[in-house]
């Protein structure tokens, strides 16, 4: 179900015309927070596969992006799974995901797929990745608070 949520959220964006931030990362956060690194990894990969089955992959089908989609929830899982919601965790997790997945891996895939010059692509992507994580942190914070409330009620 959370995989389905992640796919749907990926179709939504928040933000102004100038800067759009997808909501797919919320799904990653949920996967990591609720199921931990291992299942987060599997869930992330599956969500990418299902997403490409239903909507088709923009920019072509490439196994590297599946890997990125899997690593994101895994990192969130390492930081959030069975841990109290804390500000530093949110900040650290978001930054690690931004650096490893969005800046590192995705740029590498683009480089491999389209032969883009690595450093130049990096320059362009870094601009977005400098802004987006702040928004993601705020959203992640509120989402985790809400989720932990739901979670606590369930355990009663």
């Amino acid at each position: 179900m959370v995989i389905a949520i992640k796919i749907i959220l990926g179709k939504f964006t928040v933000g102004s015309q100038l800067l759009q931030v997808g909501l797919g990362f919320i799904g990653s956060v949920m996967l990591g927070y609720l199921f931990g690194p291992l299942w987060g990894f599997a869930g992330g990969a599956i969500s990418d596969l299902v997403n490409s089955a239903i909507f088709g992959n923009m920019g072509g089908f490439f196994i590297g992006f599946t890997l990125t989609a899997a690593v994101g929830p895994m990192i969130y899982g390492f930081f959030f799974y069975k841990k109290p919601v804390q500000i530093w965790r949110v900040i650290a997790a978001t930054i690690v995901v931004a650096i490893v997945c969005n800046i590192g891996m995705n740029t590498l895939w683009l480089h491999i797929m389209y032969n883009m010059p690595f450093m130049k692509t990096l320059g362009v992507r870094i601009v977005k990745e400098m802004i987006a994580p702040w928004i993601q942190m705020v959203v992640t914070w509120f989402v985790l608070q809400a989720l932990s409330r739901v979670d606590a009620r369930l355990r009663k």
Binding site: V2, V14, G56
Partner: protein, 265 residues
């Protein structure tokens, strides 16, 4: 609301629809792999011709493929220009600060453009001519070797098919929740950063609770119908190889041969 397309499958009767989804999926993978091999104009020509062949084999209108490329068009143009401007070459037509247009740059820009478009178009062929359910079956088949690593493929494919089945349902649910919250004043598109981040919660929490309920109900229903795990079950939906699947095989063999001959080593 329902305009948002769930599934991009377009029904048709052309040859492409008769090909086994597993074959189509593998060829899509393989084609992208082959694109990496292209490094001179001959090889780009070969790969383009093969790409166009698949497009023709679908018998669909060009607009379908244009719709596939459209969301990415700015990225494609941007990347191509990036390649054009920053590629140093012998013949320089125009020069300003760090930017230069050279013949090599122009050719490289064109190569990147072709690469991008081909990858998108071929993936579009795949998703447009195959039903999502078939794609899921094909994925399951392709994942079978993972059993060697003790991965529970049956369970993963169950997760995939449940997710596939419930994406449209939950999507409708999301829309309903958003409308319900809007009708009592929620605003999902305005306010500053913090307000917007907060506005996600009234959408997400009901959605999460809904999905929990669905998960509980569904698992109860499945258990009451005798589901005890993915082992020892039969299959109702079966994929069958047919003669039409020899064509993708031949396609791959010829493409590989041509690419290896024609590219610069």
């Amino acid at each position: 609301m329902s305009k948002i397309i769930i599934g991009r499958y377009l029904p048709g009767t052309s040859f492409m629809y008769k090909v086994d989804p597993r074959a189509k999926m593998l060829v899509t993978f393989y084609f992208i792999l082959m694109i990496f091999l292209a490094n001179n104009w001959q090889s780009y020509l070969v790969i383009t011709v093969f790409g166009l062949m698949t497009v023709v084999a679908t018998g669909l209108k060009p607009k379908v493929f244009w719709d596939g490329v459209k969301p990415m068009i700015w990225l494609i143009i941007f990347t191509s220009l990036l390649q054009t401007f920053f590629m140093a070459g012998d013949k320089i037509y125009w020069h300003w600060w760090v930017f230069a247009i050279s013949s090599e740059g122009l050719i490289n820009g064109l190569y990147v453009f072709i690469r991008f478009t081909l990858i998108i178009v071929v993936s579009t062929v795949m998703t447009v001519t195959t039903k999502p359910l078939e794609i899921a079956d094909a994925m399951e088949w392709i994942m079978t070797p993972l059993k060697l690593f003790k991965v529970n493929v049956g369970m993963i494919s169950l997760v995939i098919s449940i997710a596939l089945r419930f994406v449209p349902t939950l999507f409708d649910q999301t829309m309903k929740i958003m409308n319900a919250q809007r009708s009592r004043g929620a605003d999902f598109n305005d306010g500053n950063l913090v307000q917007r981040a907060k506005s996600v919660v009234p959408m997400l929490v009901p959605l999460f609770i809904d999905s929990l309920e669905v998960a509980l109900d569904l698992s109860t229903a499945m258990e009451s119908r005798g589901y005890k795990g993915s082992e020892g079950r039969s299959r109702y939906r079966v994929l069958k190889w047919s003669k039409a699947d020899l064509v993708p095989l031949a396609y791959c063999v010829i493409l590989t041969a041509l690419m290896v001959i024609v590219r610069i080593h």
